[in-house]
């Protein structure tokens, strides 16, 4: 499973919906139930799954799932070094 698919699986788990198919362009408006409060669950779930930690500045910059994914890849890369 690639990292993007793993991210997709986390969305399914957090929003109780196995049919979610995320894309880079998706925003909170495209996923039912993704509001500022459930966003916290999502971030924690991603951090736990990949054993990484986003900074508040990183989180604040995301405008869509693509930007979230890019942040994630950078942290995974850093962790690997």
């Amino acid at each position: 499973m690639g990292t993007f698919d793993e991210l997709n699986a986390i969305f399914c788990k957090v929003f109780y919906d196995d049919d979610i198919k995320i894309s880079r362009e998706n925003t909170a408006d495209d996923i039912e139930g993704w509001d500022s409060l459930s966003h916290l669950n999502l971030v924690v779930a991603i951090e736990k799954h990949f054993s990484i930690k986003f900074t508040n500045a990183e989180i604040a910059k995301w405008k869509n799932i693509g930007e979230m994914y890019d942040s994630l890849l950078l942290l995974i890369e850093k962790k690997g070094k």
Binding site: K13, V14, F15, Y16, D17, D19, T27, A28, D29, E32, G33, D35, S36, L37, S38, L40, N41, V44, A45, K48
Partner: protein
């Protein structure tokens, strides 16, 4: 020109005044609302279209066998179909309700089961949550999907049904006491209660839209409230449309710059929002606000929680505008007490009662309180937008009406100038970002998690939300607290109840403090949480 509202030909139907009456008055081609979706796409709907679309909805519901007093709910995010459905339901004298789009399956089952709803109108992406609640909903006959092409016995495509429905509909003569809107609200004990309103509520809702929100024919008005909340119905639909005011409805999430851009570009003249939203805006860099010219914005109103004076000072600084605090409840149906342009504003107060109601501060033994003395905030019953019952809970309704006064559950005092000051609740209901949360509901859901032995939930002060939900948990023997378990609890509650009801803070505790009759001593937990002395704990079971 200041609009007027008058009942014509003894017709009290809310939907009539929001649609047909506007067309007959010459507003047929006036914009009823500008819809802006989350991508910024815009579409205007005239009063003629609002009338026609809600007529089609009314005919479609009749075709499905829905009749007077049947309950039909929407489970939708903010979208045009929400408004067409609401008005269509009222046109056939059925009872209309709106569910928050972030409700989970348990929240849905509790509400739809209690009112025996026959139809729910939803969208494809939200269908799954509803289907999980379906086994508990024996009375639910049909689910209409606004963007689906399903067509079986239970789940039907709404567009397919509307295609066959006429856009003409004769609205039946509706008496003032015909049931209209059903809202669900949380109490400190038991399941959420259905607050039943009747069509004559329009009298007070239109009056306050004119005399408090100062809405007039030239206004472009934006009420940010979701239709799952009483404000979204009373002042996002009924009040403004009953007097022909153009609204803006926005379907995107909160974003400070987007909101400012919307206020500027749409030329919003009156804006009704919530203190939580204003507190979030306060966190932004002040320079951001310099990019936007809000010349057309005349008045800002706020509802849901007490407004901190810091917000007033900040709003005056960045926008040069006053923010008027308004107070009402699901049960009151319309604004009761407020600061407003017509009176001298007194910050950190609720303002003064609207001139068509009588408010009073009454002690627990039923006597009027003295000026400055804290007591129960009560409203002299009845008034036109007063609820008429708690569905299936008339006993609780009767407990709230004593000696001709409605007891709001809020504690307040009145100062020598006649301004009311909010002190707090006299029960354990949590007000988080304007949403009332029952600690009982959250505790019950927590107990469904196998690792949890006991739970207790309180509201604690919060800088943004006014109050936040805090859960105390005793784990079962042999269970160890971990980040994984915390995440599991959060995800479970978000999907079972709603993200709003999910605790912001979860504390593990060895024993939940209870009195000798087993009642959770939330007072003690609140004191512990705030690091204060819990006071008398002599009744605590040790």
């Amino acid at each position: 020109m200041t609009p007027r509202f008058e009942i014509v030909n003894n017709q009290y139907n809310i939907a009539y005044y929001c649609t047909r009456h506007q067309c007959l008055k010459g507003n047929a081609e006036k914009t009823a609302f500008r819809w802006i979706d989350h991508k910024g796409e815009r579409a205007n709907y005239t009063f003629r279209q609002l009338d026609a679309e809600s007529n089609k909805m009314a005919n479609a519901l009749l075709q499905l066998g829905i009749k007077k007093d049947d309950v039909v709910f929407t489970f939708l995010p903010k979208m045009p179909e929400q408004f067409f459905a609401f008005l269509g339901i009222l046109k056939i004298q059925a009872i209309a309700g709106a569910l928050f789009s972030n409700f989970g399956e348990e929240a849905l089952a509790d509400r739809l089961g209690d009112c025996r709803a026959k139809i729910v109108i939803t969208k494809k992406s939200m269908l799954k949550k509803l289907l999980r609640a379906l086994p508990l909903l024996d009375n639910l006959e049909t689910i209409l999907v606004v963007d689906g092409d399903e067509n079986d016995e239970k789940i039907m495509s709404l567009p397919a049904l509307l295609e066959k429905s006429s856009d003409s509909f004769e609205i039946p003569l509706t008496s003032p006491d015909t049931p209209s809107v059903l809202h669900y609200t949380s109490g400190s004990t038991g399941k959420p209660k259905g607050v039943q309103h009747v069509h004559k509520s329009i009298l007070t809702q239109s009056y306050t839209a004119i005399n408090v929100l100062t809405l007039n024919d030239e206004d472009v008005y934006w009420c940010t409230a979701d239709q799952g909340w009483v404000t979204g119905i009373s002042y996002g639909i009924i009040g403004p449309w009953s007097i022909g005011v153009t609204q803006v409805h926005y379907g995107g999430a909160y974003n400070a710059e987007t909101w400012m851009k919307l206020l500027e570009e749409e030329g919003i003249s009156k804006w009704y929002t919530a203190p939580t939203a204003l507190r979030m805006l306060m966190r932004e860099d002040k320079n951001m606000y310099k990019k936007f010219s809000l010349k057309k914005l005349q008045h800002i109103f706020s509802v849901g929680e007490p407004l901190n004076p810091e917000i007033n000072a900040w709003a005056m600084d960045v926008w040069g505008k006053e923010v008027y605090d308004t107070w009402f409840q699901t049960e009151t149906g319309s604004i009761m007490i407020c600061n407003r342009p017509a009176i001298k504003v007194k910050h950190a107060t609720m303002g003064k009662p609207v001139d068509i109601i009588n408010a009073a501060i009454i002690s627990d033994d039923g006597k009027p309180c003295l000026t400055g003395e804290t007591g129960n905030l009560c409203i002299k019953a009845p008034w036109d937008s007063m609820f008429v019952d708690y569905l299936n809970n008339t006993g609780v309704y009767n407990e709230k009406i004593k000696n001709g006064y409605y007891y709001s559950g809020d504690l307040a005092f009145c100062d020598p100038e006649g301004y009311y000051h909010f002190v707090g609740r006299n029960d354990d209901v949590i007000n988080t970002a304007g949403h009332l949360i029952s600690p009982f509901e959250v505790e019950s859901s927590l107990l469904e998690i196998p690792e949890i032995a006991e739970s207790a939930v309180i509201g604690a002060p919060d800088d943004i939300l006014f109050e936040k939900v805090v859960a105390f948990i005793r784990l079962k023997n042999g269970i160890t607290w971990s980040d994984d378990l915390e995440l599991k609890i959060r995800i479970f509650l978000s999907n079972r109840l709603s993200s709003i009801a999910t605790p912001q803070d979860i504390r593990i505790i060895e024993e939940i403090p209870k009195n000798k009759s087993g009642k959770i001593m939330r007072r003690v937990l609140k004191a512990w949480y705030k690091g204060e002395d819990p006071g008398d704990i002599s009744t605590m079971e040790i």
